[in-house]
Symmetry: D2
Subunit: 378 residues, 4 copies
């Protein structure tokens, strides 16, 4: 991704960031995407005890098509311990350890921007997609701005779904959503799906995925309320499939409205959709968070996942549904928009909204009171 | 497929059959499956002017994993012209020519058992799946048994869908069906889908497929009535995807009932389902036309398409749906049950029901009156 | 595989066999291929401590396209302990444990027919391909027939290579062999190759494979001599690649002879090749162990690996080489001929040659003296 | 590809270029790579009569992952007719028509930089890889600089092979080369390889490819001589395979030297290789035309084809060969370095060497004498 070099809202000096789980596939994508980032400077690559102490190059099985950035190669992986000179940590750790380690950082006063799932549904944790529900970040201010907290981006398929639904929601009330996904193998990390299971095959189940896809959008699309978030009043039914595709989750969606809208109106809503955060001109914000595919047989994962630098969700095949009201297809780049890129966008948004401190670390640390994260201890 | 050697209802001598479109992928599968068939003997391989006159081996790009049967290799491909010594033709011709050529044979008095689509919705043509709607074959008798007619098997995905729905229909009234398919490349024939389009990719549109999947099941699951068939009163919404799988169409299905049934009842209905034609013990009839997959992550195309010799539809992931009532996944072998094997089963069924004449060709031909096929001339 | 039902040399009662490593991919293939075997009856499925005590169905992630045989499902996996009622064990254990566990069985007096690599190069262990070097089995007799011993089949690619070379060797002296392989993922077992590494990709290295491919053929194609085997005087150079294919290793081979032979002579040699063990009519012996592909662009893994029930090596593209003398391509089904099927053929051959005892277990056990296996203790 | 914006040797105004065969896969890649090129401006997209008259967007099935450049979308495809305002045409036409149409342009005085094969072996046509045999371009000057001529880049696999061999050739004399290729489907264009042939499969033959790979390198690696080129005195033996990979041809190479060199010396030669044209700093010239892969299991097509913007050949697995002297693996991006990118680099090189006229079209056209291309008329 090429970043614009100058923006009014850039931090005076780059923020010092760490990556939790830097050796995994999402961690690698974070390392890739943060290389040359205008606002963030990676000063700490954190990994498990298996990796800690090794140079990053030796600790990681690099699976990105871009070569490993030179700055990362010799950097030693360190244990995940909070430190005063981190303005922010990105978390890409495994769900099994995320609950504990993210809580440790948040309680130590370090903002955590996480891709992991355990904290996503907590009332103290905004589940944030700045192009969809930017007001949810206000929850942080409500708690105690500038101190430790956790902000999560949703599951990769959820990200695609809420971005696909948002333009329609602005035009009408959605009551029901039926979604069947065709998900890429990179969503399972590494080693992830054995090739003997998926080559020339489909696996019609992804453990835990359907639950996330049926619940997370309700929080994101719901309203802020005192002390948390009120789920959107809609029903979602999901069936998830793994397909032999490297990157890009495709969602076959059917939507039922309270009062049906025409296909033309739906297309207009998608075409004219602008991110409510567009005026912030964040470095990772694509020109259009949701775009309409020009052809009748798109979007397609291999060809279209990279649109908008991997940050745009592409919609296609908008047409009437003979059971609910509207059928459409959406594509999201699962490791960029749906994971690492989504987390970076969240961090950029938090900075732009003044929720990440001043970038002057010493000062902020002095002024810091109690951390605000109040999730269970893990 | 291995055929039992002896059955009470076998023809006294094997019926002489021809294959229209013998060089295409479905034609090849017919050649494979009919090798050693106890009831049918292929005496004529018919092809287009490009192939006619060539030995089959030279005319065909053989794509079956089984080697080409020895009997077929040197057989000359001939032009598609009706002949008195054919008891039956199987048609696997391209839809664009099927309308005309099938009509020619039917009008000449030769029963046509077709896999092609053009005649499927005609009121004079039963759209037959003997395990689902065997009574629809009575339409032939109504017209004029023994004479020329056309019997069609449905689209490959439709076959999977109606077999998946039939056990549920026997237990409750279905009002709505939502289906998203993940279809194998063999469904597109040869050369079919270019590898540059599908390798590591998904194409979220298959031209013409959704229309078939939304309409054909209504005819199959509907009732016979005087002069034709009355569509079942249900709504189907379909979205079809091509995936990089060789054989096996997977269907992600959601069903809405007039009065919901429990998951347990649905599973019992599937488990206990027996073909209404089971007592005929047809050579290609699988022990169970519909089976339940034992594991939570099945069925899977590469592992399970071949169940029941490719003639069983496998069901999995039966569970509640939060929008309609019941979610399930079904898998059908698209070139066997969904095409060549389905056509062969239809022919076997027609014989067992006395709708294919006596197998004594000369006699039958003398006694034959007007052909009954009354579709448009093509 | 369908087995002929009657053969003169069948054991009076089926031999009782066990499978070491029954839950792995080769173990599963053994379970599949031994179902209904006319000579062997599986009485013991042995696995690691992780599996022991579980029903086979619960212990295994079944990856065969054929459903798990009914007899195996409820059979409890047991620990690998020698027992007097086993006439023979097939070993499909991981190389890391094979050395020890196979030695335990052999020393206890149970013949071990193994697919694992550790003992392959020992002078007391014949590396046997009955269609290539049947006389190597005589080594067993030399040691002490009827008692415990180990017979190994070679690496899957080696099996393909020696079967491809043997007809040529019968026609001329081979001095040099250059081989580049394109190997299927099933060769790596399960979980084996992560899909993120191999989907739409090639990995130009398979650890340990090239060493085997350069050394094992020399033993197989060499002569028996007192106390062991003398390597064939030829040089082999190998480069091995993993490709996204499920089953079937393809070998691109170039051969240099002492005195070049014409392409025509080479083709004649391949065409006319008969196994030296053909007269034994072993159940798993294919009609032709080596066949010539009829087309100019074959053999191909997905279409041709199953020839001869997976037991035939298919040759294609025989032509002059502008650096050495002759170029050709060979295909071997890596999990059938190259692993489980090869082991079963070895066991059949050993029986037919009188090297497996009488099949009357109690008698044989009484008469049994010292085991002959003299490899290191593991 | 991002181009540096300023170079000393840039043309005063961008050269006007046309693309012959602009709708094919290589034509699309040319359109992509020439977007924003600092030296060349595409003013003419030429196609067959089927495409001529249509907007490019309507005429092409776009298969690049980058969206179609905005400037190309509405540009009308035109018939391939020479015109005075073209400084140069890139040719990506099918081999069957290349002979004629390229001759027409060359004879009309327009320099043709072609990726097509028909003229490659003509003595009047340099087969040019500027990082390997830049002196071959002098042949143009010998004929009559500034006038119409044809310069060809080699077959995609040949490009990879000569770049892999060149560093070794600078260190020792190569006598024999054995090469087995694993080639991507994009090398066959569109529709190219049917998915039913290649999904989960390997095709061990690519028509015409081996002949090119055995002959073209001899011209490239040979010497210029009066009136043409003298083939290098070495023997090459090739076997080519199609594998299910999208982009990137992998070559398994074995090299025999007159006097063997050590692996260390070979690695040093590869590591230290610099293009003889490096000082020209051409826009498409990668920092290193040949690089060594850092890991023991690389290079791999999906991960490494894009190195150096797709213009670097990556070498791995350098080791002794037990039949010839040295084994290695090379990877080339077949549609970039091996096709479109290679052609663009050739054009840049021709400009930098003063072989493309002054960029002031009117003047040059007045001064133009007879075209120099002397191939057959087609």
């Amino acid at each position: 991704m090429a970043f614009p070099t100058r923006r009014p809202e850039a931090p005076p000096t780059p923020l010092n960031v760490g990556i939790l789980g830097a050796t995994g596939t999402v961690g690698q994508k974070l390392v890739s995407l943060l290389s040359g980032h205008p606002w963030f400077r990676v000063i700490s690559l954190m990994g498990s005890s298996r990796s800690a102490g090794l140079p990053y190059e030796a600790a990681v099985r690099w699976l990105e098509a871009e070569p490993m950035p030179a700055w990362a190669r010799d950097r030693n992986v360190v244990a995940p311990v909070p430190s005063g000179n981190l303005d922010l940590v990105f978390s890409a750790v495994d769900s099994r350890v995320a609950r504990e380690v993210e809580g440790v950082f948040a309680r130590a006063g370090t903002p955590v921007v996480t891709n992991a799932s355990p904290h996503r549904l907590l009332p103290s944790v905004p589940l944030l997609v700045p192009d969809v529900n930017p007001d949810h970040a206000d929850r942080i201010r409500e708690l105690a701005a500038g101190s430790g907290f956790i902000v999560a981006n949703p599951n990769c398929s959820t990200t695609g779904l809420v971005l696909a639904l948002k333009p329609l929601l602005d035009a009408a009330t959605i009551r029901e959503v039926m979604v069947t996904t065709l998900q890429a193998i990179s969503g399972a990390g590494y080693p992830g799906v054995p090739s003997l299971e998926i080559l020339g095959n489909v696996i019609p189940k992804i453990p835990g995925e359907e639950e996330k896809l049926e619940v997370e959008p309700l929080k994101i699309l719901g309203d802020r309320e005192d002390g948390g978030f009120r789920p959107a009043p809609m029903a979602i039914s999901a069936q998830t499939n793994r397909v032999p595709v490297v990157d890009g989750h495709l969602l076959s969606i059917s939507v039922g409205f309270s009062r049906p809208i025409t296909v033309e109106k739906a297309i207009r809503a998608i075409r004219s959709y602008r991110s409510p955060s567009a005026d912030l001109r964040l470095p990772s914000s694509p020109p259009r968070p949701v775009t309409l595919h020009p052809n009748g047989d798109g979007p397609q994962p291999r060809l279209d996942s990279g649109r908008g630098g991997g940050m745009s969700v592409t919609i296609g095949r908008v047409r009437p549904c003979s059971v609910l009201d509207l059928r459409l297809v959406a594509l999201v780049h699962n490791t960029v928009r749906g994971a690492a890129g989504g987390a970076i966008l969240n961090a950029e948004f938090l900075w732009a909204k003044g929720l990440l401190g001043s970038g002057k670390r010493s000062k902020r640390n002095q002024a810091r009171g109690e951390p605000v994260f109040s999730g269970p201890a893990g």
